[in-house]
């Protein structure tokens, strides 16, 4: 996991002695850095069950000592309580001063109270100044703490098989890159798809999104491609998965933009930040078509660039918000079932596994990975992944629903269900003719037109 400080260093144009997070800015730095969001810090919930927190840290293989964070929390709490006490006393003095001056008390008594008020104000100022570095230190460590692990998440370092469709045949196959008529690959950032590969690239994405809308009652969206640092931090996304966009007139230097693509989970968070919804719209189910630009796969399997490691891909992204953890589990299952329908129709060897805890980002509590078998690599490659975030991210971005007088933070489930570039690569290696693929979700009329056009083209082939 990337340390928050390293991350922040990247966010900062000028080096600073104390680290700054776009997600949390203490009062003394709020003048020069605009506070865009104040996360809901549920210290009580975090520390009430430190055993499960310890388990999560150990399972993920993180180097974090809960004891040390707890110690910092206690000193933060002490200072905070002290400040609250002084503030309270100051308020009492002000009140008393008002009452006495109204009642016409003698000057000495009033002067004494005024002096007391002044001294309390100074105390408060001093305490505040002293608290800033303590607050900084603690909050940044706190932001570092991971989500709890879901009961289904394997902690032994190995993935757990959940579903499998047809077994891969043995023997090696040539890489998809040999197919020069369909693929012109320059590097991880630049490739071109031609003929049926280009058509499949658009059609597969649109069909799957439509399948989610029609058969899963999802609402389709189109999302922005840039996501600012504050949301990536809220989602605990590894920052170097994404390219930083240089902006000419950046107003808030620590809240820089990253190129995620509209079909990235983080892109949905922009519309959910500070949003309070009525329970009647829950579960809220969204799906979108769009681009995804991620360097994660290239980081993992760098030396051999191909469509499997390319940064850019067309993708279908799912995003679901529920009121309870149980509903979140049910929604995850529904997304996976819809995805299974799609990949089964393509009849390609694929499987769904639960990723081991060590592979998760700190915000995820559980991740299911959809993998298609890549014959040239003789291993499965990820074409989608659905994660359960619990209410970890919602608390940070204030995404909630009202229940009586309380705010319930929503449970989030979602992730990409398809990266077209990787699926195309695998299908070609399996010898599939992309023009013949049956794509669930294609409207009947469009299908007929496509076939008509293909038949027309075939006449001249």
């Amino acid at each position: 996991m990337l340390s928050l400080r390293t991350t922040l260093k990247r966010c900062l144009a000028a080096p600073s002695r104390r680290s700054i997070s776009a997600l949390y800015i203490t009062g003394d730095k709020a003048n020069e850095n605009y506070v865009t969001l104040q996360p809901y810090f549920d210290f009580k919930d975090t520390f009430s069950d430190s055993e499960s927190l310890e388990r999560s840290i150990a399972g993920r293989g993180l180097d974090i000592r809960v004891e040390s964070v707890l110690g910092k929390y206690q000193s933060y709490q002490t200072y905070h309580n002290q400040m609250a006490k002084v503030a309270e006393e100051r308020e009492t003095v002000t009140k008393r001063l008002k009452e006495l001056s109204k009642a016409g008390a003698d000057a000495d008594q009033l002067e004494e109270l005024k002096e007391r008020g002044k001294s309390l104000r100074n105390d408060l100022k001093t305490l505040k100044q002293a608290l800033y570095p303590i607050e900084d230190d603690f909050i940044h460590d706190y932001l570092h703490l991971p989500n709890r692990l879901h009961a289904h998440c394997p902690t032994g370092g190995e993935a757990k098989l959940l579903y499998r469709h047809s077994l891969p045949s043995s023997g090696t196959t040539q890489s998809h890159l040999a197919n020069k008529d369909l693929i012109h690959f320059v590097d991880n950032n630049r490739y071109y798809l031609m003929e049926q590969a280009a058509h499949f690239d658009v059609n597969a994405m649109q069909s799957l999104a439509r399948y989610f809308v029609k058969h899963g009652d999802f609402i389709q969206t189109a999302n922005p491609d840039f996501v600012r640092c504050v949301l990536l931090e809220a989602n605990a996304s590894p920052m170097d998965d994404y390219y930083l966009v240089r902006e000419e007139h950046l107003q808030n230097k620590i809240n820089t933009a990253y190129l995620t693509g509209g079909a990235a989970f983080e892109s949905y968070l922009g519309a959910m930040t500070k949003l309070c919804v009525y329970p009647s719209v829950l579960p809220l189910r969204y799906v979108c078509c769009g681009r995804s630009y991620s360097r994660a796969e290239a980081k993992l399997y760098g030396p051999d660039p191909s469509l499997y490691t390319a940064t850019q891909s067309n993708a279908v992204q799912s995003f679901v918000a529920t009121q309870t953890a149980d509903e979140a589990d049910a929604q995850m299952e529904q997304i996976l079932n819809l995805a299974i329908d799609f990949y089964k129709a393509l009849d390609v060897p694929f499987r769904i596994t639960y990723a081991p805890a060590t592979a998760l980002t700190p915000a995820e509590s559980l991740r299911a990975v959809i993998e298609v078998y890549a014959p040239s690599l003789q291993r499965y490659v990820c074409v989608g992944r659905i994660s359960n975030y619990g209410d970890f991210v919602s608390k940070r971005i204030l995404f909630s629903t009202r229940r009586e007088k309380h705010y319930d933070f929503l449970h989030l489930v979602g992730g990409p269900v398809l990266y077209t570039s990787r699926l195309i690569a695998a299908l070609l290696e399996h010898g599939v003719n992309l023009a013949d693929c049956q794509l669930p979700g294609t409207p009947a009329s469009q299908d007929a037109q496509q076939n008509g056009l293909q038949q027309f083209k075939d006449l001249f082939a």
Partner: protein
């Protein structure tokens, strides 16, 4: 074509960036061509073209560099080359007396609009139907970012399918293109990537985000030599376009001018003899696309000052946006003659004599989503919602009407939720 001929004579001086990037370390003196520098009369003609197009006039600088270059100083030659590269393409002779206003060639009326008093503008319409959000997003997804939801997001994909079906029917081959490109490719297409007013976004790696798939498509054929039989080579792409430009103009509010959008683009490589006919075909395809969508629009022949740097001539199509009460540019197509081809080294071998020549390039918009959505929603608004144009219905599962979606939450925001410490 006289000006164009003269520009061609300067070709040896217009050493391409491509060559420079291939061999950046080669000494500039060795690379510099040893041939006559342009004559004063040629420079006068170039200056007339630059002034006509209201392009930044760097001819005085070029003149002085030409004088200095006689000594063969490599630095001066390199500066001269860079200034020459910034010159715009020649201008079609028919545009010489256009002045600064476009010439309206035709108006096409396909719909009778309801009385103005009842018409709403796109943002208002889409927001009232709960299908669009653009407010309070700057700190999270960036300035002028937007979300389309429900049927409006589906309409975007339907428009893509509709456009693809039309242009592939005209023989354009679909290609999936990259959106992240090296600086050189973008500059070779006639877009500047440096300076205060650059429209190009740059990434931390120094690479750029493509403003239109024309750049990626042109880049695909960089350094290629085609045979004449392959021409005209017609391709199309669906891509995300990134533009750093901003606008504070009231008439460009909402999604009229945004930093990111999806576009279906047409691009062709052809011979010098084919390029004018090809441009007419591009224009006719565009007219047909918007005619079938039932929009009211006009065709404009753009004056020299509106051609940008690479175009020799350009048509714009503007739709009437009844909610805004204005004409808004929906689409355009340009003939870039050999301007891009020279910079990218796109050539072809002529069948008759085997001579290798620079090709011509044409580009045109099939559909750019945000403005087309504005035109469609504003033109098809009814009291109960938005009618879906008949040609898009097959891609929308036969739906005929866009209505308010109650399952999409309204934008109710909290400022702060207090937690216990």
């Amino acid at each position: 074509m006289k000006l164009l001929t003269n520009v061609r004579r300067l070709r040896p001086l217009l050493t391409l960036r491509r060559q420079r990037s291939h061999d950046a370390k080669a000494s500039l003196a060795a690379e510099a061509p040893r041939q006559p520098v342009p004559t004063s009369a040629q420079l006068d003609e170039l200056e007339r073209n630059v002034v006509l197009r209201q392009h930044q006039n760097n001819l005085p600088l070029i003149r002085s560099l030409v004088e200095q270059a006689k000594d063969g100083d490599p630095d001066t030659l390199s500066r001269l080359r860079s200034e020459l590269e910034q010159l715009p393409n020649a201008t079609h002779p028919r545009l010489q007396d256009y002045g600064v206003e476009p010439r309206e060639l035709a108006q096409y009326v396909h719909r009778e609009l309801p009385p103005q008093a009842n018409l709403k503008e796109f943002s208002e319409l889409a927001r009232s139907l709960n299908l669009f959000r653009m407010d309070h997003l700057g700190n999270y997804t960036g300035h002028k970012s937007y979300y389309l939801t429900g049927q409006l997001a589906m309409l975007e994909q339907a428009i893509i399918q509709y456009a693809l079906q039309a242009v592939t029917g005209h023989g354009f081959k679909l290609i999936s293109v990259p959106d992240i490109l090296p600086r050189e490719v973008i500059e070779s297409c006639g877009m500047r990537t440096e300076g205060e007013r650059t429209q190009v976004y740059k990434l931390d790696t120094g690479e750029c985000l493509s403003g239109t798939s024309e750049m990626a498509l042109a880049g695909l054929y960089q350094g290629k030599q085609l045979s004449e039989e392959q021409l005209p080579l017609k391709v199309t792409a669906v891509s995300r376009c990134y533009r750093a430009e901003t606008s504070g103009l009231q008439e460009e509010k909402g999604i009229y001018r945004v930093h990111q959008f999806t576009k279906v683009e047409m691009f062709a490589i052809c011979t010098a003899e084919q390029s004018e006919t090809e441009l007419e075909e591009f224009k006719n395809i565009e007219l047909d696309l918007f005619r079938c969508l039932g929009l009211n629009f006009r065709l404009l022949d753009m004056p020299p000052c509106e051609l940008g740097t690479p175009a020799y001539q350009k048509y714009d199509i503007e739709a009437w946006m009844p909610g805004r009460q204005m004409w808004g540019e929906l689409s355009s197509c340009s003939n870039c003659t050999d301007y891009q081809a020279k910079r990218l080294g796109i050539r072809y071998r002529r069948s008759s004599d085997g001579q290798v020549l620079h090709a011509h390039t044409i580009n045109g918009t099939a559909t750019a989503i945000p403005r087309l959505l504005i035109a469609l929603l504003e033109s098809y608004q009814r009291s109960e919602g938005i009618e879906i144009p008949a040609v898009l219905r097959p891609f929308m599962d036969g739906q005929e009407l866009i209505t308010r979606n109650k399952r999409i939450p309204e934008t109710k925001l909290v400022k702060f939720i207090k937690a216990q410490i």
